[in-house]
């Protein structure tokens, strides 16, 4: 596939991600910050986010597995994830976090478990979409095209 086709694919895919709410304006902010001095900035931030999110999801699973659930801890973790997802523009994850906090406030364990499931699902989706995005960018670079979208 030539560079032009790849770029079209990238643009279309990116637009789709915005339309479906996977990404919001904040992601664009990050892309604007990327430059020749920091050509991997977005990928680096996203990688940090993945690591952080996975850590939090594991902690949440632990928290909710306890005999007596510490809802303060659960809330603190969800708050962290809400913050970092909003910082990279991961809108759908952020929205689940908002619901999660409400449910957590009600001290509803079942509800929390459902939210956790949904978070895991959204996270997996997000991860796969962003990996596809970065993959496309890498292909464009490899095919000799300029790095930016």
């Amino acid at each position: 596939m030539d560079v032009v086709q790849l770029k079209r694919q990238l643009i279309a895919f990116t637009e789709l991600l915005y339309r479906e709410g996977f990404l919001d304006e904040q992601f664009n902010q990050l892309q604007q910050l990327q430059d020749e001095n920091n050509p991997n900035f977005v990928a680096e931030v996203v990688t940090l986010f993945f690591e952080d999110a996975e850590r939090i999801l594991n902690e949440l699973a632990n928290n909710l597995d306890q005999q007596s659930v510490d809802f303060k801890k659960v809330d603190a973790h969800v708050h962290q994830l809400k913050g970092s997802s909003s910082s990279i523009g991961a809108q759908r994850i952020q929205r689940v976090c908002i619901i999660f906090r409400t449910v957590c406030n009600e001290k509803n364990v079942e509800g929390c478990l459902k939210c956790l499931q949904q978070l895991k699902h959204e996270y997996a989706l997000m991860k796969s979409k962003l990996e596809t995005l970065f993959n496309l960018e890498q292909q464009i670079l490899a095919a000799g095209g300029p790095p930016s979208i």
Binding site: Q26, Q29, Q32, L33, L48, G83, S87, R95, I98
Partner: protein
Amino acid sequence: MAVAGAVLRQNLPGNMDLCGKTGKGVPEFHVLAVDDSIVDRKVIEKLLRSLSCKVTVVDSGSRALQFLGLDGENSSVGFDALKVNLIMTDYSMPGMTGYELLKKIKGSSAFREIPVVIMSSERILARINRCLEEGAEEFLSKPVKFSDVERLTRYLLRGEADEVSEFGKRKLPKNCDLEVSSPSSPSSPSSPSPSSSSSSDDSSSSSCSYSRSSSPLPKRCKSV
């Protein structure tokens, strides 16, 4: 101020280099950023570096105090710490909150003059009031955008307190400060006001900040 403005403009190349580079007569603008989130630390650092600021990033209030020499253990203040021009701190942090850090800074004779900006993803009016009353320069909503940081460093660079409140008085906090300034957009004397409207909806991504200079109490306006 017109002269200072001219000097600043002279030193600005086509891209946004607000904080100045040493050797051109404009000192480097040193920002201490405090945030427990690794993602947010990376983003704020990049935002500030893209404006050519010198940045020190730490992950907690206690580390910030250590850096400033306010932790009580180290009586001598590091050379670096003496030249901090701005402190930006997250509000919700484990251990010491941004508010507690703010109080400690404002309670120190050496550092109370340094502007402190609080960042938070939660727009709780009582919280905002508390911070502004304690002396915070501004309260920024997260996620923090390039335009927020650019505006902030711009008016602090220009900023005698008089000039800041001059800006504040001129502005009508009606419209949402939603625009994202591109790196090539020119600065104008009437740049957007520190205060802007916000939606009470938690999921809104509109940019919002509250400033001491624009009004004694922040106005909570509905977004358009």
